[in-house]
Amino acid sequence: MRGLLKLTWLEIRIFVREPLGFVAAVGIPLAMFLVIGRTVGPGADHSARTTQFLAQDLPLFVSIFISINAALSLIAVISIYREGGILKRLRATPLRPAVILGAHVLVKLVFTGISLVLMPLAGRRLYPVPLHAHVAGFALAVVVTTVAILCMGFVIASMVGIARFAQLIGSAILYPMLVVSGMFVPLSSMPPPLALLGTVLPMSHAVALLRGAWVGAGWLVLLPHLGALALTIATCLALTTRVFRWE
């Protein structure tokens, strides 16, 4: 436990020292949120659709974007650490393998949290519409979805050997999942094969859970999605312990 906290705190400090990484993790989603919000907001019609987009869709999209970014950053870090022999060096200490990887999950959760807290803070004055979310439920949903997406990141990091391609391949897997997730187009208005694909992939459940939690949907509505994501986490962790390469 002490090793986990120590390593996590150390990795946070190291991450902050890399200005580009920090900007990408926290700055870009925040800027996207504000810029799109401002562009769509003033002067636009106050139709139900626009309001719905600003009050719900955009914040949700940015949240999931932050989680995917965190996973891509995780994939990059893991593959760079592996290529540089850092993972191997850490493993030749009393640190348990799960602690070494777990520290990176915690680091990503911390920065996801920081980004999400900054969003309403910056939005209070700059965002065109007030945000009303069920904070506790939404926070829990964010943790679950982010952990699920990070675990998918571990599987991708296990499969891709070359650090240069890792992030690229990660993007090519995770972003298209978003297209059939119900984020932009509801699954019900998609052609049946695409809708089925979307339902099978974990991203649709991440979106549904976040959306449900945002509006304060009941447990009965959220539970199936929560279960799907728990299954995703369990499957990805099982896969990771089998196929993860330390060098």
Partner: protein
């Protein structure tokens, strides 16, 4: 040096007595028997057996790709052997990896740390991982890294990085220290500085197990070496003994204006071949009196000698003799 907690010595005693150079106790700290490791269908290490005694510097030497690192990593518990029996400090590296990690210090070949980690942070993290540690500040001081305490890993020179890795390998006051290709890529000056440090580790009573493809390094540092080639151990012993055994010839090289000495030089006691290049004579011979005999010859013939040196064979020559090719990095 605080007294170390030591497990009982192994009772099984079918092996030869430890060599003179080994530590005073003669306790076996590493025992490897019939070690075998495959990568897919490629045999990386095959039937390798040896022992390392307390307090000695033991070197596994051979060209790159010979199986040195694989052997070492199986012993450290970083890698799992496919067959064979290995014990380190009485522990099984595969089964008791965690217990073993606390009692050994490891420097891995080509390992890096996080680019932006600071020197003190690495030492601090490592120190937090072990139940018993030495003072990190004092360690950095001894290794000449005090001024680099706040430097990031990526700003360190090759020699400084290796010194930091030595510091990390020593932070838990280990009983055995593993050093894999410690000086590869370093300039001669940094290399010599590292050699002094390694000798320093041994003089603190620790056992050092190292790998190198540099024969000079092995000759300078190691009490005993094992030569490994294509995954097999081909010879083992003290460097001087191996040289004496496999390459008993030594050479005397001198330059003289006098021509036609070859025939007479060949008749010197112990002399083998004589080679003449211009004014330079190279006489190969064996026996302790051979060099003296050449000097007597020069005196007896009242030769004016412009240059005189003796050439002794090295581990490099032993390797050439045993394998038929020179060792390459």
């Amino acid at each position: 040096m605080p007294p170390l907690e030591r497990p009982p010595a192994p009772t099984l005693d079918t092996s030869p007595p430890p060599p003179q150079s080994a530590g005073a106790s003669g306790r076996r700290v590493i025992e490897v028997a019939q070690l075998r490791k495959l990568y897919g269908s490629t045999v990386a290490v095959d039937d390798v057996s040896f022992e390392v005694f307390e307090g000695e510097i033991f070197g596994l030497i051979g060209p790159n790709g010979a199986g040195k690192t694989t052997t070492m990593e199986c012993i450290e518990g970083v890698r799992k052997a496919d067959a064979g029996r290995t014990t380190v400090l009485g522990l099984d590296p595969a089964r008791d990896a965690n217990a073993l990690q606390e009692r050994i210090g490891v420097q891995l070949q080509q390992a890096q740390l996080q680019k932006r980690i600071r020197v003190w942070e690495a030492v601090d993290l490592w120190a937090s991982l072990y139940p018993r540690t030495v003072d990190g500040r004092a360690l950095l001081e001894q290794l000449g890294l005090t001024e680099k305490r706040n430097a990031s890993f990526m700003s360190l020179s090759g020699g400084q990085k290796q010194r930091l890795f030595i510091a990390l390998a020593l932070i838990n006051d280990p009983e055995v220290v593993f050093l894999d290709e410690l000086t590869t890529g370093l300039d001669p000056q940094a290399r010599r500085a590292i050699w002094d440090l390694v000798n320093g580790i041994r003089s603190r009573g620790k056992t050092v197990f190292l790998t190198t493809h540099l024969m000079e390094e092995a000759e300078r540092l190691c009490d005993r070496v094992a030569i490994i080639e294509h995954g097999r151990l081909i010879e083992m012993g003290a460097p001087a003994d191996l040289v004496r055994q496999h390459c008993p010839e030594r050479g005397v090289v001198f330059s003289s204006d006098r021509d036609g000495l070859a025939g007479e030089l060949e008749r010197i006691a112990g002399a083998g071949s004589v080679r003449v290049e211009g004014a330079t004579y190279t006489v190969q011979g064996r026996g302790d009196d051979f060099v003296t005999a050449v000097i007597r010859f020069i005196a007896a013939h009242a030769l004016t000698v412009r240059d005189f040196r003796t050439v002794f064979p090295t581990l490099e020559d032993v390797f050439l003799k045993l394998t038929g090719h020179v060792i390459r990095g």
